[in-house]
């Protein structure tokens, strides 16, 4: 046996035209004898109309032109980025090794260049690691990260 609370949920479906014929018949029978639910129906209709005013406009047909190509391009670009990242990593590692072996610690390198260069490289590494660590820490402990802005 349904009570008014149950029927008020059905009223939501009724104003949205989502009830079955049986549900509509049952609701109408109840509405005929319940003033409170009739008021609820009126309120539900007004609220639905106010909310429906906010509906998204349907995009034009040309909106879908090149839609699939956009997704396909992202796949293609990902491979591009992957190769690019691999290339940069190889060049970077090779460059650092070359820098140390042939420039900083080469046979004719003055000692001050070796010391200064090593310090500069070490400083850069420390700075980068520190920045990355801070970024990770901030992301983990961000108090308001779940607050919807």
């Amino acid at each position: 046996m349904r009570n008014c609370s149950d029927f008020q949920i059905l009223i939501t479906g009724y104003v949205d035209h989502e009830l079955t014929d049986d549900q509509v018949a049952e609701l109408k029978e109840h509405l005929a004898g319940c003033q409170e639910c009739r008021k609820e129906l009126e309120r539900a209709r007004i609220m639905k109309n106010a909310l429906d005013m906010m509906s998204i406009k349907t995009p034009e047909d040309d909106y879908w032109d090149g839609y699939w190509a956009g997704i396909y391009n992202r796949c293609e670009r990902q491979s591009g980025w992957l190769f690019f990242a691999m290339g940069v990593t190889v060049l970077l590692i090779g460059g650092i090794i070359t820098l140390f072996r042939h420039v900083l610690f080469g046979p004719d390198t003055p000692i001050w260049v070796s010391v200064g260069g090593t310090a500069a490289v070490a400083g850069t590494v420390i700075l980068v690691v520190s920045l990355i660590r801070e970024r990770i820490r901030v992301d983990r402990h961000e108090r308001y990260k779940d607050v919807r802005r």
């Binding site: 906010m54 998204i56 919807r148």
Partner: protein
Amino acid sequence: MKTLSVALDSNVMKAKQSIGTKSDGELVLLTLDGRQDAFGTIVERYRSRSVRVAAAMVGDIELARDLTQDAFFKAYRALNTFDIQSPFLPWFYRILKNTCRDQLRRKGRFRRIMEKIKYTVVDRADMRDEVDRTETAVMVRCAVDMLAERDREIIELRHFSGLSYDEISQMLDIPKGTVMSRLHYARKALQEILVKTFHVKAGDL
């Protein structure tokens, strides 16, 4: 030669037709097997709904296009982690929702609301004049934004994206009756916000 070409065309048509009738799970399996057209069918099946959902969240139909493309791409990349026994749409909806949320984090609250209003107010000759309509829209939009996440989600899906109960039920993987009751409580909560915060009665809308 012409006969061969006709036969080929007919086979292609048949393949396209048969792929269009396959379930999401079967299409995922075909995609994992290297059939890109199978994923294309999934995209075609859900792109319209996804764009409306994204547009309701970010308030910009053009941005929604980009974000849904991103989401489909992310889904494509993560397809091997998808549980073939479970429905595709709720899984994809989570990816889409997170993609939109990431976008929203980059924007300020006010700008986001104003953009949503700009793109969602529908022209209706039978309604009050433009100013009244915009004022009501601003108020309702702000009130919706003040709802709890769970309530806001169902309101956005139903009213802003214009999805049916069946579509919402598939997307959230919940029964149709639950969609109805969640909508009922969400609208109640919204009504309460409008009364308490904006001092508006239902009849004033």
